[in-house]
């Protein structure tokens, strides 16, 4: 084994079959009457990971978090943390801590007392409490605000108090429920990196729940995409973006153009898919495991498509289209182009130069094309 490979394995333990998961969810189901909030979820998280559960509201991600912290009991299935089964362990005895979406700071205690609370409850000595509180207050840069009440702090400061308070006991697993949800956009971006830095510094395993795909992409070592109580795909940010395994994941993360079609030609190194929406046969430059004449979808990201004024010769996947709408975004231009089938395709094109001569105007007839390997074939 080369040192390079070793690095990959230590950084990405989920690729190593011998690695032992730190958090283990086995067939977790949570039902409320006839409603299934979490549906047979199994998930392994490794030590030191920053795992993001990404999904819309009501997808069951927060319920998973509440089961991990012990506020809810799974209807069936088991949760293991560091090899210990958590069934029946109440929240106050679990070695997990949670950072609440609302921060849940104690309004009647100042910053210092809020942060010290877990240690006080655990019966630490006063000297040690003081020392550890001071340390962590330093880390989150709240020294000037130690004596303030939560109501006297800004949103960003409250967020840092909540983080410090949930970290001070050095939990085995820190659960973060929409940790940056209440911050404005600019502060959110700064805080994302701060959060990653702190996580690396302390080496604590983080499980973040978020509905914001950008946040998940930035923070996560791996992302679990959830919908309707199930995890649809687990993978690194690049993996879930470039290799979505379903229509849902491709649409949920980033934007995508989906062409419905049927396999007409199936060889080992390419397939041809006939799509009425595209108005042509789509050439996919790699083999796809599928049945003959199977219905499937090709997902192509807007930035992986090109627009040209003239038909490029000698290439596959060229469609005639009319520019329907143009939006200039600064770093790029977003086009909505209309195909003959009536389908609207979204294409983004980077603005390399400062002249806008290369921007196509509305109503112009153009050709769009994409590379043989630009699209991902998804079966459902």
């Amino acid at each position: 084994m080369t040192t390079d490979e070793q690095n990959i394995i230590t950084v990405q333990p989920w690729h190593d079959p011998a690695a032992k998961p730190f958090i283990r969810l086995k067939n977790i189901t949570k039902k409320f009457g006839s409603f299934t909030a979490v549906d047979n979820v199994s998930l392994d998280i490794y030590e030191g990971e920053l795992f993001c559960l990404l999904g819309g509201s009501g997808c069951g991600k927060s319920m998973l978090l509440r089961m991990l912290s012990g506020f809810e009991q799974p209807t069936s299935g088991s949760i293991e943390i560091d090899g210990q089964d958590q069934t029946g362990v109440p929240p106050y005895l679990r070695e997990t801590n949670m950072m609440f979406q609302s921060y849940a700071l104690f309004p009647h205690m100042n910053v210092e007392k809020n942060i010290a609370y877990p240690l006080v409850r655990a019966g630490y000595k006063k000297v040690e409490i003081n020392q550890r509180v001071e340390e962590i207050i330093d880390m989150v840069q709240l020294n000037q605000f130690a004596k303030r009440k939560p109501s006297q702090l800004s949103g960003g400061q409250q967020q840092r108090v909540a983080l410090a308070r949930s970290l001070i006991k050095r939990p085995k697993l820190l659960l973060l429920d929409e940790p940056l949800g209440a911050l404005d956009k600019k502060l959110r971006e700064e805080t994302q990196f701060e959060l990653m830095k702190i996580q690396k510094q302390l080496g604590i395993t983080f499980l973040v729940v978020t509905h914001d795909q950008e946040e998940a992409m930035t923070l996560a070592t791996r992302i679990g995409v959830m919908t309707a109580g199930q995890i649809k795909q687990i993978g690194g940010p690049q993996e879930v973006y470039e290799y979505p395994n379903s229509k849902f994941v491709s649409e949920f993360i980033g934007s995508v153009n989906l062409f419905e079609g049927r396999v007409t030609e199936d060889t080992e190194n390419h397939v041809l898919i006939s799509s009425k929406q595209a108005g042509c046969d789509i050439f996919v430059g790699h083999g796809v495991s599928c049945a003959p004449n199977q219905k499937l979808w090709i997902a192509i990201r807007p930035e992986k498509m090109n627009i040209s004024a003239n038909r490029l010769e000698g290439k596959n996947n060229i469609i005639n289209a009319i520019i329907d709408e143009v939006a200039y975004m600064g770093n790029m231009t977003v086009y909505h182009v209309k195909l003959n089938s009536g389908m609207i395709v979204k294409i983004t094109s980077p603005n390399f130069s400062r002249q806008n001569s290369e921007i196509f105007q509305e109503g112009k007839t153009v050709y769009i094309n994409w590379a043989d390997n630009a699209g991902v074939v998804v079966p459902s």
Partner: protein
């Protein structure tokens, strides 16, 4: 931090003290969980001292008055053959229906309470509206001023009106001095005094729910209406008033219900002919010492006035919960 630690260990030591541990053990043995015990304490208290008394009233309303201690007959008796005899006496209820006094008293209480409620609404609405539209710091002071009289003795506040209404009281003196009247008006011991007393006492109960409803009303709605050409008066009747209906109902209930059963106000300000059911019950009990009839009066009051009102209120609440 030290204080928290100290407090903690203090509380801990209390709960680990032997009496606590023993009680817990004992209760656990007879199948009481901590949770069940916590639920049981207020539930049992209210069962014994709130619900069961009504069963007792119902029972006594079916017995006969006796000159004895206690002054009523027993429903259950063992006769000489050792058989259990139950003697129900509906005579008390028959008596209430038969004697016009009681029906008049019921109707009159309801009339007085309703009219007072309307006046409370007419006076309370502008005040609540004004407070709700005031800037926030002024709002708090005004609210405080509304609540403040409520904290002073109700009995004394009612009593203070005697000084105003007496034949040689403040109002008559003022009117006589101004030459508006030539001889004192008779105000004390009239229905008028009772109305004033009730409106005065219950006005805060009308204003507070109205205020909390009106303060939530979005100014944007009114601005939108003005923007669409609605004149202020029209906006008020088309938007503010319909939206404040829940507040009006809540306030009216808070005034109407206690006013119906009011005793102190008619007793102090009303005349001998101001018949209100609370007062009739009082007299039946304290003057006539007829406990069974007093019980029957309160059972009817409960069935005719209180239960419907509670039902309406319950419905209102569940409607609010749904929307």
């Amino acid at each position: 931090m030290s204080s928290t630690t100290k407090k903690s260990s203090f509380i801990k030591s209390i709960f680990q003290a032997p009496p606590f541990r023993w009680t817990k053990k004992l209760l656990g043995k007879i199948g009481f969980s901590g949770r069940g015990l916590v639920i049981a304490v207020p539930t049992i208290w209210l069962l014994v001292f709130f619900l069961i008394p009504f069963l007792v009233i119902a029972k006594i309303s079916l017995s006969e008055a006796l000159i004895a201690r206690p002054p009523y007959s027993s429903l259950l008796e063992w006769d000489s053959d050792g058989l259990l005899q139950i003697s129900l006496n509906f005579g008390n209820y028959y008596y209430l229906i038969d004697d016009a006094l009681y029906i008049i008293a019921y109707l009159n209480s309801f009339k007085i309470a309703t009219i007072s409620t309307i006046f409370c609404l007419l006076i309370g609405y502008p005040i609540a509206y004004y407070i709700a539209k005031s800037p926030e710091n002024k709002r708090n002071i005004l609210l405080m001023l509304i609540i403040l009289p409520f904290w002073t003795s109700f009995l004394l506040r009612v009593y203070s009106w005697i000084g105003f209404f007496k034949a040689n009281g403040i109002i008559n003196a003022a009117l006589l001095n101004l030459g508006i009247i030539s001889e004192p008006l008779i105000m004390l011991q009239t229905d008028f005094a009772v109305y004033v007393g009730i409106v005065y006492t219950y006005l805060p109960f009308m204003i507070l729910p109205l205020y909390s409803n009106l303060v939530k009303l979005d100014d944007i709605l009114l601005e939108a209406s003005a923007d669409l050409g609605g004149r202020p008066m029209i906006s008020f009747f088309k938007i503010t008033l319909p939206l404040s209906v829940p507040g009006i109902i809540a306030g009216s209930m808070l005034v109407l219900i206690p006013a119906v059963g009011e005793f102190v106000i008619p007793a102090l300000l009303g005349g001998p002919d101001t018949l209100m059911i609370g007062r009739v019950l009082w007299d039946e009990f304290f003057s006539n010492r007829d406990w069974p009839v007093a019980s029957a009066v309160s059972i009817i009051m409960l069935v005719v006035l209180i239960l419907p009102v509670m039902w309406i209120q319950n419905k209102q609440n569940s409607n609010l919960g749904e929307s």
